[in-house]
Assembly symmetry: C2
Homo-oligomer: 332 residues x 2
Amino acid sequence: MRFVLVAGTTETAHIEGISAAGADPALMAHTPSADLEIVEYGQPVQAPVMPVSPTGCPTPAVITRAVHELTEFEILALDAGLVRPTSAPTVALEAMPGRDIRHPRPVDSAADTFEAARQLGRSLPDDELVIGETIPGGTTTALGVLTALGERAVVSSSLPENPLALKREVVDEALAASNLSAGETADEPVKTVRHVGDPVLAAVAGMTIGATTTDTSVTLAGGTQLVAAAALARHAGVDTALSVATTSFIADDETVRMNELANDLSLDVTVTDPGFHHRNHSAMNPYIAGEAKEGVGMGGALALADRAGISMADVREQVVAVYDRLVVDESL
Amino acid sequence: MRFVLVAGTTETAHIEGISAAGADPALMAHTPSADLEIVEYGQPVQAPVMPVSPTGCPTPAVITRAVHELTEFEILALDAGLVRPTSAPTVALEAMPGRDIRHPRPVDSAADTFEAARQLGRSLPDDELVIGETIPGGTTTALGVLTALGERAVVSSSLPENPLALKREVVDEALAASNLSAGETADEPVKTVRHVGDPVLAAVAGMTIGATTTDTSVTLAGGTQLVAAAALARHAGVDTALSVATTSFIADDETVRMNELANDLSLDVTVTDPGFHHRNHSAMNPYIAGEAKEGVGMGGALALADRAGISMADVREQVVAVYDRLVVDESL
């Protein structure tokens, strides 16, 4: 098994009220680079700060790192359009940072990214890949993709109050900018990403397409962004079993009916509840309040911990350990 | 502990008779990229073939991979001037591929590479780094560096018969092309690399300089190339303890007096003998015949196995397992 983290950016995240993946808009550009460093090293190395939401919710990279420290799974980080450098080792896919989806061609490199990711997914020696993402603004581009493909147009949010109406407005503008209507690119996954997606979705879908051609089992680790990537793979003709491993915070999100979305696309869904309500700790309380919910492969990491027989109580203790180390570093 | 592999290229390797790090000159450019993939994945992924010498000696990446499978140390691969793509995740240092050292400025990017590596070495959270290399032609550039610094000018070879006279001729031409004489750049490590070195030496020396400033323990995993990197660090003012971990094949190489070289530079040397003479196997026999000897951190990996209480008999079994998998893949 290899844990693949696909990191990139879309300027869609700069739209006010869209994303909570950074304390402020200037820091948000560093979030995916910092997330990779936290998972790889347990702390930011080159990135200036630990990513937190505007209200202080720590990045889900903390949870994925905690599970990594308990289970030592192998990590492969992919650069699918980072704008800030990272000291985490990455394989660079042929990807440029994504523009705002209200631009007519926000992802010019979509075809190249699909192809580079497909080749990598086909070439890796593993029996199983677990694929997660880190891209601020990614649920809005996911909504763009689901809408253009003609799938159920609902996505989750890193904010406690899902700004779904705002996202739909942005997606409507995005479709209009590309002269597309909902459902119009149903058989064209590359075109879909090029016009209303982001480079991470191209990379996740491409990896999934490549891996499944060599009978590698694929688990998409995350929420509605990963479902959108699965939709791209399905619309590219992938008809083998695909799994999604997500958190209870996504499953409990009433603005998105995860089971219906997953049923539409024949995805097996595993939901893992880390039991954060059993602790009163600032690393976990924001999740109880509905922040973050998912990201950086968190749901997949929790599922791997469960599969390895590690209790969620042990996961929570390790989350505290990782968080406390990070907070000490920040305050130095 | 983190196992750092610095990979790059120098056109010096194209000089006939200099390097055995590839079956033929065209394939040699792929060697460092393939070595990283073998250590990371156990097989080439994007690289076209497993690197072997012209007579079929498998790359020392096989041994490092075998130990990695037994001990699961963390790997950080650095791109210090690769010319062929790799599917192994890397951190790209500010490095260009090195030109033939008979060019007046073979490593234009020397200062940038030193600085990027220094910053990374300083920033990593680890208590201990073990640093190895993969760069065909690297012993000749190492000889250039040792000569220009005024150190004992002897280096080992990946060939059974060390072409030391040829290397000295190349280094003399290199010094002449840069209007330098032996010992002239003793206090200028960056200038030394710029004129007679390679980008991997800049990166290893820079990492060492950065790591030692934060009291990270550094073990240089390899032979005379790593000693040359240590010399650069010493000439940059590093006066803390530095260790070299190498193989018995280097220690037994009569063309290079490893202990004298190490004494000159106050380096602690650990020599590990993998006991390849106990087996009659095509993965190991070429080493007994004096081929390869070191590379891809082999000596450091063997020392880590020893420290972890793993017997060399178990290491040998794993070498056979890794090699057999590679050979099956190649013959498909």
